[in-house]
């Protein structure tokens, strides 16, 4: 099978399942007495049909690219990072802290500093889970879930008790120099939407992940360990180090996701800003088969789902939209597996 047909086959699974799930969703909408065609029309015209809606979609997608990369990176080492939600929160807060604290720094310094803070914050948090696994063998799924709870509580405590603007749920604003500008200000397109410069950073992160995984010694070792830990042992690779590094980079990528909201949109840290992006990122990575470039379109698709759900919220109860989203994810995973079996397509 040549490369192109292979790509077509591996894309066919997700596309087919999207079609099936749209039919399924139509039935669901019909069952609650609404016209599915009206709903879908509205959903698509309000998301990808106009530049404001598309900006909203891209804003949602940006965070998902980061969390998708986070899940995918850990998957490469055979690790399940459920903790992107917490890592993102820590990263977002770290970036906000930099923006609030170093008020006098020019953007040339404070933007890289914010990036670094977000990355290190997330990396540190995921690194704890990695360390616990490497040192004591405790399962990373449990570690990351627990650390999610701790991250939420910790950040909330700090915000509530130290940084809170009274009678809100957010911190003071970051310095204007640390703002990642919005595209509507820069280009006049996507008017009113919070789509911002975090997006090119997300694309950069995809390229970075591709390079680390495919071109570096570390990536080679991560993949070896992910595919066959016995071979890694045989080849004298230090499994503990691999676990720690892959979790840290994974968490760092999730942490960068915090920039989108903090530096790109609200310009402060707000409790609850993660919006479950950490969990949706896992689905993104699964469907994109951990391919850093496939993560971009898949994230945009989820962005459409997420924002599309909001646009039809006046017509369809929120629960129905959530159910539909869940079904779509399940279907995509199932249909993709069927395709994989039937046509023996596999992407590494």
């Amino acid at each position: 099978m040549n490369k192109i047909t292979k790509y077509i086959y591996s894309a066919a699974g997700p596309i087919l399942s999207i079609i099936i799930s749209l039919i399924f969703g139509a039935v669901l909408i019909a069952l609650i007495g609404k016209n599915p065609i009206d709903i879908y029309t509205k959903m698509f015209s309000d998301t990808i049909g106009n530049s404001y809606g598309f900006g909203q979609v891209m804003f949602k997608s940006t965070t998902l690219i980061f969390t998708g990369l986070a899940a995918a990176f850990a998957f490469k080492a055979g690790l399940f990072n459920i903790g992107a939600e917490g890592q993102l929160t820590i990263g977002a807060f770290a970036s906000a802290w930099v923006g609030i604290t170093f008020v006098n720094f020019p953007w040339q310094i404070i933007i890289p500093l914010s990036l670094l803070a977000a990355f290190i914050g997330g990396a540190f948090w995921a690194g704890i889970a990695g360390y616990l696994k490497a040192r004591f063998g405790s399962h990373e799924v449990i570690n990351t879930i627990m650390l999610n709870f701790i991250a939420m509580a910790l950040v909330s405590y700090i915000v509530n008790n130290i940084y809170l603007v009274p009678a809100t749920i957010h911190t003071p604003e970051i310095s204007p120099e640390s703002v990642l500008l919005r595209f509507d200000i820069l280009t006049g397109m996507f008017k009113g939407s919070p789509f911002n410069l975090s997006f090119p950073i997300a694309i950069g992160a995809c390229i970075l992940m591709y390079l680390i995984i495919n071109k570096s010694v570390l990536g080679y070792r991560i993949r070896t360990y992910g595919f066959n830990p016995f071979a890694a042992e045989y080849a004298k690779m230090k499994s503990g180090r691999i676990i720690l590094w892959s979790m840290a980079v994974s968490g760092g990528l999730a942490g960068l996701g915090g920039l989108n909201f903090v530096n790109g949109y609200k310009h402060y840290f707000e409790l609850g800003l993660s919006e479950n992006a950490g969990y949706i990122g896992i689905a993104v990575a699964l469907i994109a088969r951990n391919n850093p470039f496939a993560i971009i379109p898949v994230s945009i698709f989820f962005g459409i789902l997420e924002y599309g759900g909001l646009t039809v919220n006046t017509l369809v109860p929120k629960e129905i939209v959530t159910i539909m989203q869940g079904i779509i994810i399940l279907l995509i995973i199932a249909v993709t597996k069927i395709f994989e079996k039937k046509f023996k397509v596999k992407t590494v």
Partner: protein
Amino acid sequence: MREQTANSVSVQLIDIVKSFQAGYNANDHVNFSAYPGEIHALIGENGAGKSTLMNILYGMYQADSGKILINGKEAKFRSPADAIKLGVGMVHQHFMLVNTFSVLENIILGDEDTFRFDVIDMKRSKQKVIELKKSFEINVELDDISGGLAVGIQQKIEILKLLYRNAEIMILDEPTAILTPQETEELFKTLAELKNSGKTIILITHKLGEVLAISDRVTVLRRGKVTGILKTNQTSSNELAKMITGRSIESQVIKKSAGGEKIILEVNDLYINNDRGSLAINGISLIIKEGEIFGIAGVEGNGQEELAEAICGLRKISKGTINIAGIDDFKKSIAHIPANRHKYGIVKEFTLEENLILGREKEENFSNGWILNNKKINEFSEVIIEEYDIRPENSKALMEGLSGGNQQKAVAAREMTKNSDLVVISHPTRGLDILASEFVHRTILEESKKGKAILLISSDLSELLKLSDKIAVMYNGRITGELDPKSTNENEIGEYMTGLKSNKR
């Protein structure tokens, strides 16, 4: 052999085509037939399509086109269960026994006829097995627990399993690869009994000696095509080898005399536990000098693997010392061809070239310590493919797409070209065809000529005799015999292997 007419053909495969990747047929219009009361050898290089063909015959794969006739009638197998219903069964290289079950339980396990009103009719089943034992002179204790039994016995259980299911056509996949000479002899006796009772035996093998010794006819496959169907008594080892490889080969390996005086590996009073925590190595000492090939013989599971792993730093030592000359941190640079290649030696999801740098990724040639030098890796891979004749000749081919023999060549190539004074090799030619085996043997000798010390673990005694400067036999975690390959033979080694003889302690 019985009178053979077209009617009495028990197996007929007609024009079988099977392809796993576009453009290459693993079986390319293959015809094959076998008669009742015949031992039919199926030979060919690794990747020639032997396993594929037999997997089609016993229902594991479905052919893309072509027909299967069993006793003249067309059969369609969708699973091995379909095949066994028509009397076609296979004994695999890796046995499929439940270790905690008794021999009898393993034999009757999963057979539908065993049940009467949903209850196992033990008495009737046992009676049937006893009769089978008697008529084919197969000697096993039905009440023993299967797990601890020798491989030869386990193989007999597998054969009984097929007989119990009334198999008339029996496929054996390299049945002698892991047997001692004595066990091999017994197996051949059993096969002769089966043949005499009118069964059809199909034997997949690499060993031409065996082909000539017990088969009636031979079918040779090369690159998915049949290159010859011969009567065994009308052919020779040379002719077969030529048909297999497509060219004549020099089978003579020139052995050199043992090398220098410098001690490379010194193992002193070593004790090692196995995975279950009991003693696997029970006080072993040995010395290997530069340029020396030190062979270790033994029935598998007598501590050879644990020894190899300990030397390579993969297993904890409970007592004793291992010293390797010139290497402070010996864990780093020992070349090691592991016995379980699938588990340790390769990453099947990787490409060939990625596998060729496994464990060597930080070498100067392949990276600057951080970034892989893909160009150099590719160049290295192209050279290796050429030198070791690895197929397909494609550095980017996924490892899982390679045949077992080619995977092994890749592992051997990687380890043999590694800069290490000591090479630990387990079963270097297991599953390899003649050409590849000769090649690996030559490589081992060449490397030892360069002064490398080689620890060679193998259950192929002819291989050990051919290559080794010294042979030690391991039994129950001890070295029970040290023999000079020039003055010993397979039978004597076999006696040490089974614990009948000992010249130490």
